[in-house]
Symmetry: C2
DNA sequence: CGCGTAATTGAAAAGTATCAACACTGGTGG
DNA sequence: CCACCAGTGTTGATACTTTTCAATTACGCG
């Protein structure tokens, strides 16, 4: 539900004190601000220092579909930089946000020359593949009720921290359905 | 729908002629054979040389959900080896199959010592993250009819090459629904 | 207060699953 | 040669789930 990667975050914070650190900038954003826009060229890789974002796609039907919520240590832009592709999702701050910006060439140099960074990145990607695959299969093969129960057990403060329309977009369902299930869960 | 990675396949075939090649074994499987079992420890990484496999999860409800169909150059087991996790899907041959087996320690050495291999692997992972994310969002936000049309346009020989129950499991729907939509598409 | 956004709800419409019956195919063995 | 069987595919009827639409309420804030 909310992905984090403390190990990578700590490592990048340490990197800031090395020569490479000069090429990494620390930025801020406010709620609603979009750090990365869908269908644009990506020239840098970003890493969240503090705060929460949603990573979502706006579909041709006009709906949004939320891939994930990203917290500290999560990376975005790396897929596009590695595959030379247009960005496939938008990253938007869900509250005050602090994040690092690593220019594309610095990112590629880190991969080449910093085995520890490379290894952390590989594990991040692998972990995200795994997580997304499990989420997708669970989503498709279980009832709405099961899905919501599962979210709640994984993240009990769900409804306090995340807006209903975002939860619905994460589950790929309508708000109406979400409300109905919540109601049946309460009774 | 069917993922392939010719570049990586070519590279691993070349690796076979290096000292590292001795640690890579080439194996065969027949239709229905399972190369990797869900919920087992993984001690090697595999790469498809020739043939087609399905990568699927068996859900607690008894249903299968197919994550992807893998063709030449695609890799499996890498997620588990990189994250030290139990396998989360089963890989099953859909026909005669030839594949390479790379022991865990050889795989990790390749990452450390072969920048080209490392780079190809990073791009493979990135590409798979991207592909899976787009598939998932399309699935969740479009009608069954749209989904099937999309599969057909991407892979016209769909119904000749892949069994109906596999297509249904890939889309996460019942065979009955699949048949109904196919019927409406024909008229 | 007045405004905009988010949340809630009921009723009707659309979509999907379940179940059960039946057709087609390619073996296998009497 | 045919009966039988298992696997795959097809279809209709019914029950269930989810969306759509529209109306209403609740909340935060200038």
């Amino acid at each position: 539900m909310i992905r984090v990667n403390r190990e990578l975050l700590d490592y990048v914070i340490k990197l800031k004190d090395t020569p490479m650190g000069e090429r990494i900038t620390e930025l801020e954003a406010v709620e609603g601000e979009k750090i990365l826009l869908q269908k644009t060229h990506v020239h840098a890789v970003y890493l969240i220092k503090e705060g929460l974002t949603k990573c979502y796609q706006t579909i041709d039907t006009g709906n949004d579909f939320i891939q994930e919520f990203f917290g500290g240590g999560e990376v975005f832009g790396e897929i596009e930089v590695l595959t030379d592709a247009i960005s496939f999702c938008t990253i938007e701050a869900l509250g005050p946000l602090r994040y690092f910006k690593i220019p594309k060439n610095a990112f590629l140099e880190l991969i080449d020359q910093d085995p520890k960074f490379n290894s952390l990145l590989l594990r991040l990607l692998a972990s995200n593949v795994r997580y997304a695959a499990l989420r997708h299969s669970y989503n498709q093969t279980h009832t709405l009720e099961d899905n919501i129960k599962r979210l709640l057990s994984e993240f009990p403060q769900l409804f306090e921290k995340i807006a209903k329309h975002d939860i619905a977009n994460y589950l790929g369902i309508s708000i109406r359905s979400l409300n109905r299930v919540i109601r049946t869960l309460e009774s």
